[in-house]
């Protein structure tokens, strides 16, 4: 296998993990958004990665293979009678974002990203070591 293909594999992995972190950040940013008067409410998103790595390696570095799907998390209802958007019973509907889940997602994504970087560095070091073959240093 060419070393550029190893790089492409790691790059795809890094892209997926970065998307995961971006989506987690988006969820956290919308954690305290309330439902509007028309009932529109932010739904937490999840990154769903499909295992099309083997076929997308040949396509180079830009292979879209992730889907961002809304979750079916129920919204949070918080009793805040003074809130301008409170309903008749005094409850305000917040987006059902679980901060702990998002933090864990971000931690896992960061570790996976590091693993991808480590894999890429290993491939790079192997290629650079191969250049030392026959060298007199």
């Amino acid at each position: 296998m060419d070393y550029t293909q190893s790089f492409a594999i790691s790059s795809i992995g890094m892209t997926v993990e970065r998307t995961r972190v971006d989506v987690a950040a988006l969820n956290l940013a919308n954690a305290n958004s309330v439902a509007g008067p028309d009932g529109s409410l932010y739904k937490p998103l999840r990154v769903v990665a499909h295992a099309t790595f083997a076929s997308s390696v040949e396509q180079g570095l830009n292979a879209p293979l992730v889907q961002i799907e809304p979750t079916q998390q129920p919204p949070r209802s918080v009793y805040e009678p003074g809130h301008p958007l409170a309903d008749a019973r005094g409850f305000v509907t917040y987006a059902g974002v679980d901060a702990a889940t998002e933090m864990v997602t971000m931690m896992g994504a960061m570790r996976s990203y590091e693993a991808n970087v480590a894999a890429m560095n290993t491939a790079r070091n192997m290629a650079l070591k191969a250049l030392d073959i026959g060298g007199n240093t």
Binding site: S11, M14, T15, L61, R124, L128, L131, G134
Partner: protein, 111 residues
Amino acid sequence: MSTEAIQAVAPVAAQILEPSLQPMAQGQAFSTGAAAGVQGGFGNLVSQGVEHVNQQLLANQVDLQQLAVGNVENLHQVMIRLEESRMQFQLMMQVRSRLLEGYQDIMKMQV
């Protein structure tokens, strides 16, 4: 003697070399091959490789300019492309040092 030396220096290139190179002296391949464009010569091969490395370095420069002005979509792809071009450059340097070693060996040869 000279063809054996060339093949010893560049065993990879020896498979692609055309028979037209065989009577060519090594100094000729370096001095006129790249400049005058001797068809299919080893000098052509070298200049093609150098050109490829140069193209990649120029592409990296564009990437870095994009990074500097702030519209970068993927930091790791820029880094990976930088690493790729660095490895290409290292490979070119290794080939160059092998060639120079062989050339100097021949120049020091007692006739």
